[in-house]
Amino acid sequence: MQLKVLPSPAHAHTLDTNPPMVELRDVTVAYADNAVLNDVTLSIPQGAHVAVVGPNGAGKSTLFKALAGLIPLQQGSILWRGKSLGASGVRIAYIPQRCEVDWEFPVLVRDVVLMGRYRQIGWLHRPSARDQAATMEALAQLGIANLATSPIGELSGGQQQRAFLARSLAQEAELLLADEPFTGVDASTQEVILRVFEDLRERGVTVLVSTHDLNMAINRFTTSMLLNQRLIAFGPSEEVFTSDLVRHTFDSQVYEVDGGLVIDQCCSHDGEFDNAHELQD
């Protein structure tokens, strides 16, 4: 089957005039000679909100790490606002799938969120009143202001996810990369997170969110990307999620039930792959 990269997104008339936030050209990333991302070329307009969908081992996390400038590329190049990452000065927030932090570390939730502002605070300086205010505001927006002085280790999974999202708000990022933010969180947290994304869209922040929830991608994101080591489709969600393209992305793990698509991921043989990436980090 041919690769299908769809024309520019549905709200193209507004986005097309925006310069690209990130451009990938022939990007290949490999771990120990196993290519995880293969020849990905794409351009994400500033202010776009993209759901990144693909099976386990599709390279979603790898794509995000590459976009955050955290891993070297085997081939190809990435430009942020037309420049290298250092030169562009783009503020990037990256929320990994599972933050590999030491949950026993003696820090309060407030301290963790404040870390997002270390760049603004600068070397040898103490946080200003503005930094403190931005921290509290971010916590309030995620509905966890009451947890500000709790140790990070005492939070539930959903609350931790909120805290790390609050941190990227405090960071005042221009590009937000959230890897599976909805995995393992409760329904109310999911709604809060979606509301925050909505708010970021209004502020013109570029947001990429990986998810394995097709319905969420279709219903809550205007733009979607299908990824399975190669870029399979990128464009308006309603055009991306055709049964052919989805089946191509997920191989044979897709079933049609009541006219909708269901993906069976429990037996994914690529699962080992994903673990392999985590070991590399």
Binding site: C99, F105, L108, M115, P151
Partner: protein, 281 residues
């Protein structure tokens, strides 16, 4: 009553010893917080043994022991960083190799001296009552420098210890910050040489910090409490050694261990006994 405290201080060597013990108690306990939180106890121990050749060379050349130790310690700190960076040797293996080899080299060199046994025991277990004014001055300057760096780079050290991924996304030079931490640990070990010696310095680095960890929720408070425990151990240990006539290094370490055991048993939230009581209720 006051005689008990003031009587030993009529001797100049006791005054200098006390000052050195307090200084070492503070610096070790503060930097030890990072060692405990990052699980680097083995590294602290290794560092202590690895400076032995430097001390031996200074001894043989009749130079200043502290200067020899400092040179060796900084070499080793940077050596561990280089050996592990991007190589297939794991950090603990690299440390194990360096640590044993340095210890062997150091002992081999010292063993060529006639006063072998005394000299070796001073180096291994400290000789606090032999601290000269010159030593005290040098230790004071080095200790103050360590504390100043810890305070000035508090938030950078915190971030690199807690969340290296965020540090990388914020484009902080994590490698340089880690190397600096190793150098600070090395300097601290050197300062402790005369007080508790190579063999026991790990205890001063780890025990007060581990004690503080049991009763705090923030790194800043942990450092202050740890320093307090370090000073108490140093002072009580030194007086104990004076009155009971035992070696001062071990007395200081045993005092620190006793405090740890007390807190470990009775700490309100994490203590063993309060937890058992709560379970019974």
């Amino acid at each position: 009553m006051f005689d008990v405290i003031t009587a030993p201080l009529i001797y100049g060597f006791m005054q200098r010893g006390l000052a050195a013990a307090i200084l070492v108690g503070i610096v070790c306990s503060v930097i030890g917080c990072y060692i405990v939180l990052r699980g680097m106890a083995f590294l602290g121990d290794a560092m202590a043994h690895a400076i032995l050749p430097g001390v031996a060379v200074a001894y043989l050349l009749r130079g200043n022991l502290l200067v020899g130790a400092l040179a060796a310690a900084i070499l080793v700190a940077l050596g561990i960083g280089t050996l592990t960076r991007g190589s297939s040797i794991k950090e603990d293996t690299a440390i194990g190799i360096l640590f044993a080899a340095s210890l062997a080299l150091g002992v081999a060199m010292i063993s060529s001296l006639q006063s072998y046994a005394t000299d070796l025991s001073h180096i291994l277990f400290g000789n606090i009552l032999g601290v000269s004014n010159q030593d005290l001055l040098l230790c004071g300057i080095l200790g103050a420098a360590v504390l100043v760096v810890v305070v000035m780079l508090y938030k950078e050290f915190l971030l690199v210890a807690f969340d290296p991924v965020l540090a990388a996304t914020l484009r902080l030079p994590a490698g340089a910050i880690n190397a600096l931490l190793l150098v600070l640990i090395a300097v601290t070990v050197v300062i402790s040489l005369q007080t508790v010696g190579v063999g026991l310095v790990t205890a001063l680095l780890v025990t007060p910090a581990a004690t503080a960890r049991l009763i705090t929720r923030r790194l800043g408070t942990m450092m202050l409490l740890s320093a307090a425990f370090g000073v108490i151990s140093a002072v009580v240990g030194l007086y104990f050694s004076y009155y009971v006539n035992i070696a001062s290094g071990p007395a200081i370490v045993l005092t620190a261990t006793a405090i740890f055991l007390l807190v470990f048993l009775f700490a309100p939230a994490k203590g063993v006994l309060p937890r058992m009581l709560r379970r019974l209720r």
